[in-house]
């Protein structure tokens, strides 16, 4: 079989396994057979069926949507900046969205979801544009470390402001601390379906950028020669990334490193093909977030470790390893 087809099948299979695990594993383990029946032979008196349908389905859908959104956003950012260390979380987009939502909730009294999502977009956009403007334009634009450091500066500032606000509001702190950790269960009663559909639409818009991004990968001059309008592509891709990161943060809180790690995984499978990179980021992003969430449920049983924590644990180590590989000392 063709290698790329094989990679795609493996990614989808992994995502399906992750979905099954996310539905079955938890404080109350449920046999896969019961999970199956909860969908196709629902028995309202069976508590296992109720757990699956009322708790774990929402959680799993949030995981799929947030994971796919973050992974595609990361793949888009890495392709646009030609920087293998680019990640919406590292760039401060999640921190910006989180601060905007905290500001809206605590200071502005915004309780409903729709304005919160708008706030998340605004925050993500502001943070991302500052980090991108400082780190990825002008002389030395392609230097990987510069973008990471610009993102670290923006993240540090935004996190400090967020912490200052929530520390002053103990009541809000108790509500927000789980969501701020990046969690698939931190928010209850949000319209999961429409949000997941929005993520799907935004991903589809991102996929439209495959051709110009492939041209940009050849360099700005070659891209111009091929008729690519670099400015337009940049606006298109950045807007998509901001929407994806904002949606993911509104759904699951600030989760970092999925956007860094997944594209590296995918590239190991398919090489430097941007179309495949974006498409396979969808199932693998979903799988990574769901498996991170499931791991968090197993390790700290009967409690849970938020998925934002498990992904940051592995992602931080990955960043350190990448740094070690990228800068080797020439004696």
């Amino acid at each position: 079989m063709h290698r790329l087809t094989l990679a795609a099948l493996a990614a989808v299979a992994l995502a399906l396994i992750a979905i099954a695990a996310s539905l079955a594993v938890g404080a109350q383990d449920i046999p896969v057979r019961d999970v199956w029946e909860a969908f196709f032979a629902y028995d309202a008196s069976n508590p296992s069926h109720q757990i699956v349908r009322e708790l774990r389905v929402d959680r799993t859908v949030i995981g799929i949507a947030a994971g796919a959104a973050l992974a595609v956003a990361g793949a888009l950012t890495q392709s646009l900046t030609r920087n293998p260390l680019a990640d919406p979380g590292l760039l401060g987009l999640n921190a910006g969205a989180a601060l905007a939502i905290v500001l809206g909730t605590v200071v502005g009294g915004v309780a409903s979801l729709a304005p919160q999502i708008v706030l998340a977009f605004v925050g993500a956009a502001a943070a991302g544009l500052v980090a991108y403007g400082v780190g990825a334009t002008g002389a030395g634009a392609a230097a990987p470390a510069r973008l990471v450091l610009a993102g670290a500066a923006v993240t540090a500032l935004l996190t400090a402001v967020t912490a200052a606000i929530v520390v002053a509001q103990p009541f809000a702190l108790n509500q927000l601390r789980f969501w701020l950790a990046g969690s698939l269960t931190g928010r209850t009663g949000i319209p999961v379906g429409p949000l997941a559909v929005s993520v799907a639409i935004a991903i589809a818009l991102g996929l439209l950028a495959v051709r110009p991004l492939s041209a940009i990968a050849l360099g700005d001059h070659a891209a111009a020669a091929l008729g690519t309008r670099a400015g337009l592509t940049r606006v298109h891709v950045l807007a998509t990334v901001i929407v994806l990161a904002g949606l993911a943060t509104a759904l699951a809180g600030p989760i970092a490193f999925v956007g860094l790690a997944v594209p590296h995984l995918v590239r190991a499978l398919v090489g430097p093909r941007i179309g495949w990179l974006l498409v396979l980021s969808i199932p693998l992003g979903a799988a990574v977030v769901l498996l991170g969430d499931v791991a968090g449920r197993i390790v700290a049983r009967p409690g849970e470790i938020s998925v934002g924590v498990t992904t940051a644990l592995f992602g931080g180590i990955l960043l350190a390893v990448l740094a070690r590989r990228m800068w080797t000392v020439t004696p």
Partner: protein, 331 residues
Amino acid sequence: MTLSRPTWVSLILAVIALAAVSAAVTYGQTALPWWDSVRSAVGIPTNSPADFIVGQLRAPRTYTATLVGALLAGSGALLQSVARNPLASPDLLGVTQGAAAAAVAAIWAFGTTSSLALAPAAVTGALLTSALIVGVGWSRGIQPLRLIVAGIGIGFVAASITTYLLTAIPERLVPQAYLWTIGSTNARVWDHVAIAAGAIAATVPVALWLERRLRVLEMGDDLAAGLGVRPVRLRLAAIALGALAAGLAAALTGPIGFVALVAPAIARRLVRTEGIVLVPSIIAGAALTATADLFAREIFAPTQVPIGLFTAAIGAPYLLYLLRRARGWNS
């Protein structure tokens, strides 16, 4: 008599620091006779409200902030000299986050939030983290960007551990523990001042001893070796001392960001040198935190803002400016 440039820069910075400290002890929400405040601040009983308001509230807090600023700046000066990069600082390298994670782990394990009890944990965390960063970032010598990007990754790992612990500790401890994510000088007592002074007394002489050798090392490894300096040992010693100072600082006030980055840069610019200038850096750090603490206390009075918010508000834009300006990224 002519003074050398570092000496008069140090003197001017010392005057600024002293002015900031005086302002911090004499000015506040409760108006007090100036002379009573000054006497209370140096421990002379006045039998007036100043004995409590200045002697027990304002003075220990201000002194702790000032001394912690000195510790952080010294740490930053050492690390920047070792990495030969103005971006190296304990907070970007993740040392501070390591200290905070260890402190929050101690809160979680022992149920106390007394920062005196947490000091050993914070120092251990800082030293372990720096060992980890050196382990990852060191191969056949130091490559600054590798060290820094690896440090950002490890800092994220430590921060995610903190985030998890913040969701796992009992609710009543959360507001106190959350301060470990930003740094606060609120409610410091004389014990803190004593520890901070002891930390300065223990680390500064060693740092001064190292500084002379680091200056030699800044001229190149071969020349330094010829002059009897052992480069590897010296670098490891300087990193260990820098981590120790940052850990002690974090133990006293939590992670106050960016001081270690900014203060040595101010000192170098005023002295007009590229190399390490320890004494001016330390005094600049003291002046910086004394001022920031006064602002944190009074700007939204009677509501207090964590000092880390102010240092981040100054430091993050400076870091962005530094990134914007720097050349020679593609190393």
